[in-house]
């Protein structure tokens, strides 16, 4: 008896983790068809479309279908997923989650704070009512997703543009060895640069011709390396690495959500 209750308590300890894991699925890519509603060719098309959209506009639009909400309110679930996946770029807050639950016949468009001006609750509601719902009602799910995603892209295009450093191409040409270098090493290297240039400048002041040759010779081994850029390139590269493991090319940028968007059923 004692043993049984003890093991029960141990089980209780693990319960929160188990529940959390069951509730929020891991992001697989731009299109996460856990509810098996989208045909594979459409899924691939949508994924390419959404990837290009992020490359040009930096806005992250992610589609998620689930078989059922298991009794959880739609709005609670969708904001939990949006926050867990960190959809949208940090600071821009330009993420959109298009969530569909198959058995509940419910859907929601969750809009990040940065897009609330362009994609208002009203616009999101109209996209659900006028674009997606009629197609879902006719059981044309592929058509509904394609039309819905296009409408969302049209509504938000131009609100943001991608930075010079595109989110999906984190490994810029200016960041050699970024994947392998620990940050203290980078710091040491920077210090080395400073010391090197300082030394060169000093010796140049003394005997001009000789030192210039010296600079050319020893400078050859070093990559071109603007210092201010380094920190950013490093962190995105790291993020990219981890998201490649999860597969699919999408990785959340840290956008925040305030509960904007619209829900509907069909």
């Amino acid at each position: 008896m004692k043993k049984a209750s003890a093991s029960f308590f141990v089980l209780l300890l693990f319960l929160p983790f188990a529940v959390e894991a069951a509730n929020i699925p891991a992001p697989r890519g731009y299109v996460n068809d856990y509810g098996n509603m989208i045909s594979s060719s459409t899924e691939a098309d949508l994924a390419t479309k959404l990837k290009t959209f992020e490359e040009t506009d930096s806005t992250q639009l992610v589609v998620l279908t689930v078989p059922s909400l298991e009794g959880e309110p739609l709005e609670d679930y969708s904001i939990k997923v949006a926050e867990a996946w960190k959809i949208g770029q940090k600071g821009k807050d330009n993420g959109i989650l298009f969530l569909v639950s198959r058995e509940d016949r419910k859907m929601r468009i969750e809009v990040g704070r940065g897009l609330e001006g362009k994609l208002t609750d009203l616009t999101a509601g109209r996209i659900i009512d006028l674009v997606v719902k009629p197609r879902f009602k006719a059981e044309d799910y592929d058509g509904g997703f394609i039309a819905g995603v296009s409408a969302l892209i049209d509504a938000t295009r131009g609100e943001f543009t991608a930075d010079r450093r595109t989110p999906s191409g984190g490994q810029g040409p200016y960041v050699p060895f970024a994947g392998e270098m620990p940050s203290w090493f980078a710091f040491l290297m920077l210090m080395g640069f400073f010391a090197f240039f300082a030394a060169v400048a000093r010796s140049r002041a003394r005997h001009n011709r000789l030192s210039r040759r010296g600079l050319r010779r020893s400078g050859r081994g070093y990559p071109p390396y603007p210092g201010g850029y380094y920190g950013e390139g490093w962190s995105t590269r790291e993020e990219k690495d981890s998201d490649v493991d999860s597969g699919g090319g999408f990785s959340g940028g840290g956008g925040s959500f305030g509960g904007g968007g619209a829900s509907g059923s069909w």
Binding site: E75, I79, T120, D121, L122, A124, G125, R126, D129, F257, G258, G259, G260, G261, A262, S263
Partner: protein, 194 residues
Amino acid sequence: MKKLLRYVASGMILFMLSGCGYNVMQQNEEAVKAAWGDVEATYQRRSDLIPNLVETVKAYAKFEKDTLTQVTEARAKVGTVQMSKDVLDDPKKFEEFQAAQNSMSSALSRLLVVVEKYPDLKANQNFMDLQHQLEGTENRINVARTRYNKTVETFNASIRTFPNNLTNKFLLHLKPKEPFKAAPGAEKAPQVTF
């Protein structure tokens, strides 16, 4: 020499202050205030939507004067609850604010139930748009309240745990903040009567 001693002493005090949660408590209080700002903004957004909603419903549902009056009155009452800065520190004022907003919520949900009787109104594009806006706003209120409660939880915990509680007692004198509680009767859905 005396000067040096004074520097050392002030340095020590700074160090001790950061070690006893002085800064943490201030930061947590600011977080609560910021979250409260969001709560207020979302409630304001709801109040702004109501005149439009009332006008639209009025055109279709002429016989629902009572319900409409209740909504308008609730909105007026929300407007009269004075929003001052100390509403966060004063449980009584906070209660007042919450009560006013709750009566607004229940008046609104009654209105939306009544609307079910008017298919013409429900099919009206203007009304459908308003309904989306209202739903969106209610959802934002929900999110803002949950986040506010989370920051309050952090703040209240930070002023009660050792050694922060000593710092607070002797230096800061911060009061615990009030979280939102579920409205009484909120677990029951409004009844439809024909």
